[in-house]
Symmetry: none
Subunit: 226 residues, 2 copies
Amino acid sequence: MKKILVVEDDKSLNDGLVYDMQEEGYEVYSALAASPALKIFRTQEIDLVLMDGNLPDGDGYTLCRQMKQIRDIPVVFLTARDMELDEMRGFDCGADDYITKPFSTVLLHKRIQAVLKRAGRNTKQNVYSDGYLTVDFDTSNVTAAGKPLILTPTEYRLMKLLIDNNGKVLTRQMILDRLWDANGNYVDEHALTVNIGRLRGKLETDENKYIKTVYGMGYMWIGGLL
Amino acid sequence: MKKILVVEDDKSLNDGLVYDMQEEGYEVYSALAASPALKIFRTQEIDLVLMDGNLPDGDGYTLCRQMKQIRDIPVVFLTARDMELDEMRGFDCGADDYITKPFSTVLLHKRIQAVLKRAGRNTKQNVYSDGYLTVDFDTSNVTAAGKPLILTPTEYRLMKLLIDNNGKVLTRQMILDRLWDANGNYVDEHALTVNIGRLRGKLETDENKYIKTVYGMGYMWIGGLL
DNA sequence: CGGCCTTATCACAACAATATCACAATACAG
DNA sequence: CTGTATTGTGATATTGTTGTGATAAGGCCG
């Protein structure tokens, strides 16, 4: 569940926001001023900050900058209509969006979703990496020591299967079933042996071993385990 | 210089926007409807789209989605005040900001700056250069060993796409989607193969190879790697 | 240590993916 | 409207991959 921090000095508006956001399914923290907000921000893994532009102790733009420095999470500003100057300052300090009061709950929620989604793009990663080998499963990019590595489709699928079961032994039969025998076509078990060899040849060095042969059983990926 | 595409069916507002943005130092393209907009978008390396929500042929939200699919650049919506529904649809389709009419030039500029800055995390280099090949993406000048190289539009766009993803594999499908029509319009995958060949013929020599084919996957630019 | 089984390596052939070349269709400038 | 450059298409050649067979190397157990 996403954690939202509401920073708004108007008590009733603050309460309203907290209630609304809880209804929308977020875990909500709130603060009435900058300094308690910062404290919460440090201790909780906040995903997004909803912030008023005019806070009593030090304005929100300073707070925004401070937070961004600690950890770069999205900040959405709440600002009164027609405060063009405010808007600009907000963006200057790195705000990700701003919303003019008054606003509806549903709109607010939509904007928050949009901002979170935007931020999520830069953080979400589906990668395997130890010091030497890196595999990006989203783009199918494989690099060894920073240099791109070209794997054939079968080699890649084989590697993915092994990494998905990092530390577990996969029997030859299991691997055959999952990589080849999708439609009942029989393939020589030997094909697996050869492809394991080819994969090793491409990604293992004298110092870096990844695929452990388990005699009489199958193979096991041992990335970052030994 | 940043390239902005203005999509607005109100001719006078369109002209005004174009003028304002040119004053602010952008290179501005404009379209009065969705389909010409899409054409410009495909052929020009647009950095940001300024779009009206109500277009005569197919609404802007559809257009936004199409563009995002081709290449993920920021889209800012222009929408009439109080059109809350519009705003939400805008965000649903991946809009990066929206601005309610009427607005001031200076505010618009600020918002655009903010959005561009936000997107800037993904901004690519403006000049590519290794010892042999040099590409200036601002002026579209390409030189090999100091001598100018003439590329056709498609060759250039193809090369840019590859360089933007230096060291990463781009699948054939990805490239097709981004350089040719992302919608139903069918283009023979073969066209890509041929254009890769032409590009290679122009910029590769016996000693300098740039485009690595990844069998069963696609292609990868390998400038300064390997 | 020596037989027996499992796994590894190498070379090759069949096949599928990609490259190349020539030409036709299209866009485009004058 | 005409000539030219660009881009897509088709036929054919080339290259990369992958399964298979033969052979070598390695582990297991007496």
